[in-house]
């Protein structure tokens, strides 16, 4: 039997790293999504008529039936509803975030999907599930065709009336 090591601090270690970086491509569908966002400030989506699914992010094919969607494009307004959200109190290194950051998953109207984004211009205690929000986009000449073009989502100006108790 090997004698167990009882003092972990005594274990010698070797340091290592996996030294690679990446250049990703957005793909055929992804590239069109970002170019449309940059030029027009709207979301490009694809629709499978047979399965009645509108893909956002857009896909070149229907993942349910494999229909070719390369000619099935449409555009939707960059707005939707808060499907769920979280309030982040610490950053990735455990440092407190002040003020806390509200991150939501927003279902985009007219699609079967959505996007994650920061919720802007509101206090954490004012967020509600199903609250309508609009994307806050960078000004046209500063957009580069990437997710950074979407600063976040902000409450739509006219809020729905709350049901009275």
């Amino acid at each position: 039997m090997f004698k167990g090591l009882t003092n972990v601090a005594a274990a010698r270690v070797w340091h290592g790293t996996m030294p690679v970086q990446y250049l990703y491509t957005a793909g055929v569908a992804g590239e069109r999504f970002f170019q449309t966002l940059r030029r027009k400030g709207v979301f490009a989506v694809t629709t499978c008529a047979e399965c009645q699914v509108t893909y956002l992010p857009p896909r070149l094919y229907c993942e349910r039936c494999f229909a070719d969607l390369s000619e099935a494009w449409a555009e939707v307004a960059p707005s939707g509803r808060v499907h769920t959200y979280t309030v982040v109190h610490e950053d990735q290194d455990g440092r407190p975030l002040d003020p806390p950051q509200v991150v939501a998953f927003v279902r985009i109207d007219g699609t079967s999907g959505g996007l994650i984004g920061r919720l802007l211009h509101l206090r954490p205690q004012d967020v509600q599930v199903e609250m309508p929000v609009d994307a806050v986009l960078a000004p046209p000449r500063r957009r580069r065709g990437s997710m950074d073009d979407i600063a976040g989502f902000a409450p739509r100006r006219v809020l729905p009336r709350r049901p009275t108790p």
């Binding site: 970086q21 993942e63 039936c65």
Partner: protein, 391 residues
């Protein structure tokens, strides 16, 4: 092989994306091109598929951790039993072995097998992803990479049998030439042995043109049980035998001049296929050729040439497309390209087309009735073999 599988399995469709240095398309999109083409040639739709196998090599290539799962929708696996087959470079051939098990076992009748690799993502070179496959304490301090290891192995092969580098360069000439007839090929060319040996020495004796390229690409096949294959296809190609085997993980403890693990895998597949004299009973071969010498190495391991004799057989034209035993009529990894897992499955696709006599300008003469495809990988230690035939 102690027991014979009870159900026979056929390939009834095949598809391939273009192989290229850098695709705009995502790995999912590449997988979709190959998979949808395979379904189309099999005359079926995605809803008919009962399970999906996806072969894709290290996550570090695409730069997506757990990329097998990430590729799910491009492989047509959403909402279905799905399995990632992963044995490194051997994954392409292992993918149909995995699919074969699903059908031979009686669990499924129609399985879609897809293989994808998008190596262009990895910077500065996919080689970097391999720096960590060596023992982190014993070997890595010296900074070995795959090219060193291949060069050491090729040198041992040459020294053991008195082989010249010119003999090995001929593999690049043959395969790059064969690939001229392949519509998906990335690095097809008409070159001479001199051209190969005039290219840069990467790590002697390996020259740049003796190494397969970095590639993006995908391949796919549809597997069917016997009953379903006979209903759907008038020319099913049968998987007659499969085999695989791993040698020790310590590359320094292997026989570098001869791939014993390929021999073991080959005999497993041959026994299942009822092949007793491979050189007579195999009519077309697609051995794995990521480096020029590897095709020769593997032909010997596959029992298709005597040890140390493959270079001589090659020089006298035995492995030409019109030769006695065409080897890599597709153009192989040296000519078509090497999107790792997809390259292995591309070899299976090639046998499918060759045995159905649908290979067009690449068609080998005569009436090939049986072929063997082989891939190699993991930590340079696995042989994966599949024998396919017309009956």
């Amino acid at each position: 092989m102690k027991r014979k599988p009870t159900r026979r399995v056929a390939v009834i469709g095949a598809g391939l994306s273009l192989f290229m240095r850098r695709a705009l398309d995502t790995g999912k999109e590449l997988a979709y091109y190959a998979a949808s083409q395979a379904l189309q040639t099999a005359g079926i739709r995605l809803k008919d598929i009962q399970a999906v196998v996806m072969a894709t090599a290290p996550d570090a290539f695409d730069g997506v951790h757990m990329k097998g799962e990430w590729l799910l929708d491009g492989a047509g696996g959403v909402g279905k039993p799905y399995l990632r087959a992963y044995v490194g470079g051997g994954s392409g051939v292992f993918s149909i072995i995995s699919g074969w098990m699903m059908v031979a076992s009686g669990v499924f009748d129609l399985v879609l097998v897809v293989a994808e690799e998008k190596m262009s993502s990895c910077q500065p070179h996919p080689q970097g992803a391999f720096l960590t496959i060596f023992d982190h304490i014993i070997e890595r301090p010296l900074g070995p990479n795959l090219l060193w290891i291949f060069s050491l192995e090729q040198q041992r092969y040459m020294a053991a049998y008195g082989i010249r580098n010119e003999d090995i360069a001929l593999v690049s000439v043959k395969n790059k030439h064969n690939a001229l007839a392949h519509p998906a090929a990335q690095v097809a060319a008409q070159l001479t042995v001199k051209d190969i040996l005039d290219s840069d020495v990467v790590a002697w004796p390996v020259h740049r043109l003796m190494v397969s390229p970095i590639s993006d690409g995908a391949a796919a096949v549809v597997l069917a049980s016997e009953q379903v294959a006979r209903r759907l296809s008038d020319r099913p190609i049968w998987i007659q035998g499969v085999g695989w085997c791993l040698d020790t993980s310590y590359w320094g403890n292997r026989d570098l001049a001869y791939p014993r693990y390929v021999e073991k895998a080959a005999w497993m597949a041959y026994e299942m296929a009822g092949v007793t004299e491979p050189r007579k009973q195999i009519h077309v071969a697609e051995p794995y050729d990521p480096f020029a010498y590897k095709e020769l190495h593997h032909l010997e391991g596959l029992q298709l040439a005597d040890r140390g004799q493959a270079p001589e057989d090659l020089a006298r034209g035995r492995f030409d497309r019109t030769g006695e035993l065409p080897s890599c009529p597709s153009g192989g990894l040296m000519g078509v390209g090497n999107p790792i897992a997809a390259a292995g499955l591309m070899k299976v696709c090639e046998l499918f087309w060759q045995l159905r006599r649908e290979a067009g300008a690449r068609q080998v003469p005569g009436n090939p009735e049986r072929g063997v495809a082989q891939a190699w990988g993991d930590l340079m230690q696995i042989g994966t073999v599949a024998v396919l035939g017309v009956r």
